[in-house]
């Protein structure tokens, strides 16, 4: 078998002294969502790798902040860093994730992050 020509140190070269995700800053273009936007988490296929949990899929939450730009984990897992995208921190009411969450604790929330491809306007 011929030797792989893939440069396995390209990430280290790019990120050393800068940090990850800082090294992807400015590569994702305009952020599609802003603070306060209501978004729904899509239920995309994830047969290989994903970091989108099952429990928030289909749920509607509020963007608390755009956090950084980075390749989505679905790409990065295969060392594909060509198309970084914006990541957002999204807050959900527990009630919207678990229908039988007690009404007494209606204020309780969960906050977690998604890359842009996983979100749509709600």
């Amino acid at each position: 078998m011929s030797k792989s020509q893939h440069d396995r140190t390209h990430h280290a070269k790019k990120a050393t002294g800068i940090g990850d995700p800082q090294c992807f800053k400015g590569e994702a273009g305009r952020a599609k969502f802003k603070v306060g936007d209501r978004v729904r988490v899509k239920d995309l296929p994830d047969i290989f790798y994903s970091r989108t949990q099952t429990y928030p899929r289909g749920a509607v939450g509020t963007v608390t902040m755009p956090v950084y730009e980075s390749p989505a984990p679905e790409d990065e897992a295969w060392d594909n860093t060509d198309k970084p995208e914006w990541f957002y921190s999204v807050k959900f009411r527990q009630k919207d994730l678990w229908p039988d969450y007690p009404d007494l604790y209606a204020n309780d929330t969960v906050e977690t992050e998604f890359s842009e491809r996983w979100l749509e306007k709600a």
């Binding site: 280290a12 050393t16 800068i18 995700p21 949990q53 956090v67 204020n107 906050e111 992050e113």
Partner: protein
């Protein structure tokens, strides 16, 4: 050699994951991704970490409103003042594939309590908090905290009033979190050092709140054994 005199195995049990780690590590070294020396340096670095810098960050933020503002807006920058350089301290010079250089300091208020989990694996802000406790990595904690946060916190001895919002931070991507708890009453006039002592690891994860007199490094009483064992040989 008879059956009774077989030497005991040096290692009782090696899990599948340990075997996998060794196999991947040896392949990576063989392929030249890193050297055995790099790996040893990394292990040494990771084992030198602990929660003290994060405790100092919290104590500083309690005393200095300007620093608190910096901490909640740029955790990585605020970490520099307590001796943690997220980018350059790790031997790699850019963090690691699991210790990214993104820290959010989650500020509690009397009506908002944060608690941190990683439901997908066990992401943890290691550069500023050291190795995660064993329970943090268990499926039990990871599965239940997002679904029944009040019950899980109660198991840690933390019961919160219904009107306090519990916000679970699920670190599923590159951001790592620590909690900036509310400064407890009874700590008026304390120095930064004294305040840092009551900010234990669990307070920084969010499963406990700081209390005057409860410190991680307090001396514990040593009781003599009720039925001591005497070694006569």
């Amino acid at each position: 050699m008879s059956e009774q005199h077989k030497p005991a195995p040096m290692v009782d049990e090696v899990s599948d994951f340990e075997v996998l780690e060794m196999a991947v590590r040896e392949l990576a070294i063989e392929k030249g991704l890193f050297s055995a020396e790099d790996h040893r340096r990394w292990t040494e670095y990771v084992h030198s970490l602990g929660p003290l810098p994060a405790a100092r960050l919290v104590a500083k933020a309690w005393l200095d409103p300007e620093y608190k503002k910096l901490a909640v807006t740029d955790g990585v920058k605020a970490s520099l003042q307590v001796g943690v350089d997220w980018i350059n301290s790790p031997p790699t010079g850019f963090g690691t594939p699991s210790d990214y250089c993104a820290l959010r300091v989650l500020e509690d208020t009397p009506k908002l309590k944060h608690v941190v989990v990683c439901t997908l694996c066990s992401c943890y802000p290691r550069p500023i908090l050291g190795q995660s406790p064993e329970w943090y990595r268990t499926p039990n904690y990871r599965r239940r905290l997002v679904r029944w946060p009040r019950q899980v916190l109660a198991e840690f001895g933390l019961q919160l009033a219904p009107d306090v919002e519990i916000r679970v931070a699920d670190s599923n991507q590159k951001t790592r979190y620590i909690v900036l708890p509310v400064r407890p009453a009874g700590t008026e006039g304390w120095t930064e050092e004294r305040l840092a002592e009551i900010v234990t690891r669990d307070c920084l994860i969010g499963v406990a709140v700081p209390k005057p007199g409860v410190t991680a490094n307090a001396k514990r009483p040593v009781h003599p054994a009720v039925h001591p064992v005497h070694h006569g040989h």
